[in-house]
Assembly symmetry: C2
Homo-oligomer: 437 residues x 2
C-alpha cells in the first residue's frame, strides 16, 4: 500500500478535525483508495498551546521551511486568511506538492492564479471545503455537470446569517438580540462584519462562478448587501406573502461566454422553492442547467467535522480523479443588478395608522401611477405600522416616489429582489387560469 | 480530438433525450472533455415508427448483432426491463464496450454480476440515471464520500407516488382520484403497481445500499409497503402532528460490515427534516455519514431531460474518472424492520363520535396500559371520525389491542414508522426542558 506524507498547516477547529478524521477513518480510506495517509508535520504558531488531540506533540513545528526541507506529498492548509497561507501554498506548489485548502478568502482572491501555477507544476489544488462546508458542490459542478450548460447558481452560503434569520423569523426576535446569542453559541465572530455584511458569501460566490461559468469576477465587483437592516416584522410580512427572506448569493450567465450578474443580499425566496426551507446553520446550493433542469445540494456549511470531511475527501481524490482540463477562465462583462427591472418586495414602516382597507387602497393608487402590486400585507403595530407589497415591475424612480404615491408618511422603505417571478394571487390568478383554459 | 463511437439501445423518452443532448450540447462536451461523441447506431423495435428527432433514419437498426459487428466504444442502454437488455449489455461488455444504462430493474437484480463482468473485461458500467434521475447521488457516494463511514441513506425515490401524496395532501383528494389524474398527465403508468406498491423505490434502494454499504440485498428481501391505503384524513392528521407522510426508502447499516435494515413504505417525516418539503415529482436522497454529518441531494427524479443528462454525464465520465477499486460486495444479514420497537404513528378510523376531550382520554387510557402517546390529533368527520397518535414505543401486540384499550370501535387501524425520534410536545416538552436546566 502506497504511503502519502501529509503536512497540515494550522491546528484550529478545521485542522483538528482533519487530523482526527485521518486517524479515525484510516481503515475506511485505505480500503477504498489503497492509500495510507500519514500526517508528518503540523505547522502551528504556538507549539506549547494545549491541543484537543493527543499524540501530535512530536509533529508540531513553527517553521514552514522545515516542512519543505523534509519533503511531503501533500500540504493541507487550514489556517485561513490570505497571508501567510498564500506564500506557503505557492512554495508548496513550486516544490511539487499537491495542495488541499479550506481557505475561501484566498481561493476567492487568488484561486485562478494558484490553479495556473499548480497546473504548470503538474500538481493539483483542491478546495471543496471553501464553499458550503461538507457539501460536495464544487465536485458536482466539475465532474457531474460537465455536459450541461449551467444557467444559474443560487445559494445560502453563510450559516451564521441563516441561523440569525431563522431565529428572528421563528421567534420574532430582533437582529441585535439573535446576533448576541449567535456570538455566545460560537456561531458568530466577535466582529461579525464578514458574515452579516455578506463578504463571506461573496467570496464563496466568486468561487462558484469560476467553476460554473469559467468567469473570474473580483469579489469587489459583486453587488453586495447585508442583513443588518432586517426586522422581524419584515420577515413576518414576507412570510404572509408566501416567501422567506434569505441571504442569497446568486450568479447567472447570459449566454455561453456571455456577461454575468452576481449578487449577494437579502432576497425573497418563494415557499415552493427548495431553498426556502433551508434553516439554521444549514447551507444549500441550487444549480439550474439546460438539461438536468435543477439540482439542489444541502448540508452543514461549517463546523469541524463537515469541513474536515470535505478536505479529506479532496485529499483522497488528488490521487484518484484526473487533473482538470486546461483551464479557460475569462474576465466577463459584469452586469449591474440592483438597478434591473423585474419584481420587487417593498417593505414600508410608517407612523400612519393603517385601516383594514389598506390593501385595496394601495392596489388602486399604484395602478393609477402605472405600477401594479401583485399582493399586499400589513401589520398594525403599536407605534409603527408596517406594510409590504410585491411589485410586479420596479424602476429606480420608485425608490423616491413609492410612499408619495401611496400617500404614506414613511419612516423607512426597503426594496428586496425576488428569486424567480412572482406567482399571481387572488383574482389575478383566477383570471390567468380561466384564460388558459 | 478523439472520436468516441456510441450505440444507443432504445429511442423512447430517455433514448430521445440522450440523442438530443448529444447533438445540442456537443460543443460544451467537446470543450470540457476533449472528446467528440458520435451516435453510430440506434437499436429500435420498429424502424418505420414516427420519431421525435430528425436525422436518425439512417442510424436505426433492429439487429443488435449488426451493432456489435461494426464495433462501437460505448453502448448506452435506454430500453428498460431485464430482457433483452441484460443479454445485450453482457455481449457489449464481452466485446469490450463500456456501458451506460438507466435501467434500475436490471441493475437492482443483476448489477453486481454485470459490474464484475465489466471489471474482468477492463471496461466500465455506469448507471447514475437508474436512481434519482438527474440527481448525481451514485457519483456522490462513490467519489465524494469515500473517506466517510455511511450510516444511513433515506430517500424519496419515486416521483409518481410523491406527486400523488403531495396532491392528496394539498387538495384533500382521494388516492384514486389523484392516481387517475397522474395517469392522464403521463406521470403514472396504466398499470401503476410498480410505483404505488413501492417496487420501483425498492429497486433503487437495492442499488443505493450496494454503493453505500457494499451490501448486496435481493429486492425481494426488502420490507415493502405501498401507498394505496393512505387517505387525505391520514395526511391531514399527520401534518397536524408535525409530519408529512412520504413513501420513504431507507437503508441502514449497523456497524462496519454489519447487518443492514432496508425498508420502503409510507413513513412520517418530521417537518424539520430536509425530506419533508420535497414535493411533486421531485426526488431527494438524505445521506448520513460519520464525519460529513448529513448531505441531501434534490432534483427531478424522472423525465426525458434529467434522465438523459445523467446518462450523458456518465458517458463523459467513462473517459475521465478512474475505474472503481476492486469491488468487495457482500451478502449481509438483513434485519426485520416492521417488527422493531420504537415510535409509531397510529391512524384509526372509527364510527364512534369523538368528543373534544378525546385527546386527554386517549393519553390516560394508554398510560394505564403501559403505552404512552406523545401526541394526539383527531378529525370529527361526517360518517367516520379519524384519530391519530404518535406512540413513543410500539410492540406488535398493539396491532391487536390498541383500539380495545382505547375503547373505540375501529373500522380500520394502520401503523406507520417515523423517521427519527419523535419530539416531545406540550407538557412533556416543558418537563424535559425544565429538567435539563
Amino acid at each position: 500500500m502506497d504511503r502519502i506524507d501529509v503536512a497540515l498547516l494550522g491546528l484550529g477547529t478545521v485542522g483538528t478535525g482533519v487530523y482526527k478524521m485521518l486517524q479515525s477513518n484510516q481503515d475506511v480510506i485505505a480500503r477504498r483508495t489503497g492509500l495510507l495517509f500519514e500526517v508528518k508535520h503540523i505547522l502551528v504558531r504556538d507549539p506549547n498551546k494545549k491541543r484537543k488531540v493527543d499524540g501530535v506533540k512530536n509533529l508540531l513545528t513553527t517553521r514552514f521551511e522545515e516542512i519543505m526541507a523534509t519533503g511531503v506529498d501533500v500540504v493541507m492548509e487550514a489556517m485561513g486568511g490570505v497571508e501567510p497561507a498564500r506564500t506557503y501554498i505557492e512554495r508548496a506548489i513550486r516544490s511539487r506538492c499537491h495542495v488541499v485548502t479550506a481557505n475561501k478568502e484566498l481561493i476567492a482572491k487568488h484561486g485562478a492564479e494558484l490553479e495556473k501555477l499548480a497546473q504548470e507544476h503538474g500538481v493539483q489544488l483542491l478546495y471543496e471545503a471553501s464553499v458550503g462546508g461538507g457539501i460536495p458542490v464544487l465536485g458536482t459542478l466539475q465532474h457531474f455537470l460537465k455536459a450541461n450548460r449551467i444557467l444559474r447558481v443560487s445559494g445560502i452560503l453563510n450559516g451564521t446569517t441563516n441561523f440569525i434569520l431563522t431565529q428572528m423569523g421563528e421567534h420574532q426576535r430582533s437582529f441585535e438580540e439573535v446576533l448576541a446569542e449567535a456570538q455566545r453559541l460560537g456561531y458568530a465572530e466577535a466582529d461579525p462584519t464578514a458574515d452579516v455584511e455578506g463578504f463571506d458569501a461573496a467570496h464563496k460566490l466568486t468561487i462558484l462562478s469560476r467553476l460554473a461559468f469559467g468567469a473570474v469576477v473580483p469579489v469587489d465587483e459583486i453587488a453586495r448587501r447585508g442583513i443588518t437592516d432586517i426586522s422581524p416584522a419584515e420577515l413576518e410580512l414576507a412570510h404572509r406573502l408566501g416567501y422567506r427572506i434569505k441571504l442569497l448569493a446568486k450568479a447567472e450567465q447570459f449566454g455561453e461566454e456571455g456577461p454575468v450578474a452576481l449578487q449577494v443580499g437579502p432576497t425573497l425566496v418563494p415557499l415552493s422553492h427548495p431553498l426556502s426551507g433551508i434553516n439554521g446553520v444549514y447551507n444549500a446550493i441550487h444549480i439550474e442547467a439546460d438539461t438536468v433542469q435543477d439540482v439542489t445540494l444541502v448540508g452543514q456549511g461549517a463546523g469541524e467535522q463537515p469541513t474536515a470531511s470535505a478536505m479529506v475527501e479532496d485529499l483522497c481524490n488528488l490521487f484518484r480523479l484526473p487533473l482538470p482540463r486546461p483551464l479557460s477562465y475569462r474576465r466577463p462583462l459584469v452586469l449591474p443588478v440592483w438597478e434591473e427591472g423585474g419584481a420587487r418586495f417593498a417593505f414600508i414602516e410608517t407612523k400612519d395608522r393603517l385601516g383594514s382597507d389598506i390593501s385595496q387602497q394601495v392596489k388602486e393608487r399604484l395602478k393609477r401611477f402605472g405600477t401594479s402590486a401583485v399582493d399586499v400585507a400589513w401589520l398594525p403595530g403599536d407605534e409603527r405600522s408596517a406594510l409590504a407589497l410585491i411589485l410586479r415591475r420596479w424602476d429606480p424612480s420608485l425608490q423616491e416616489k413609492l410612499t408619495e404615491e401611496l400617500e404614506l408618511e414613511a419612516e423607512r422603505v426597503v426594496f428586496r429582489p425576488l428569486l424567480g417571478t412572482p406567482e399571481p394571487v387572488g383574482a389575478e390568478r383566477e383570471a390567468k387560469i380561466s384564460s388558459a383554459q
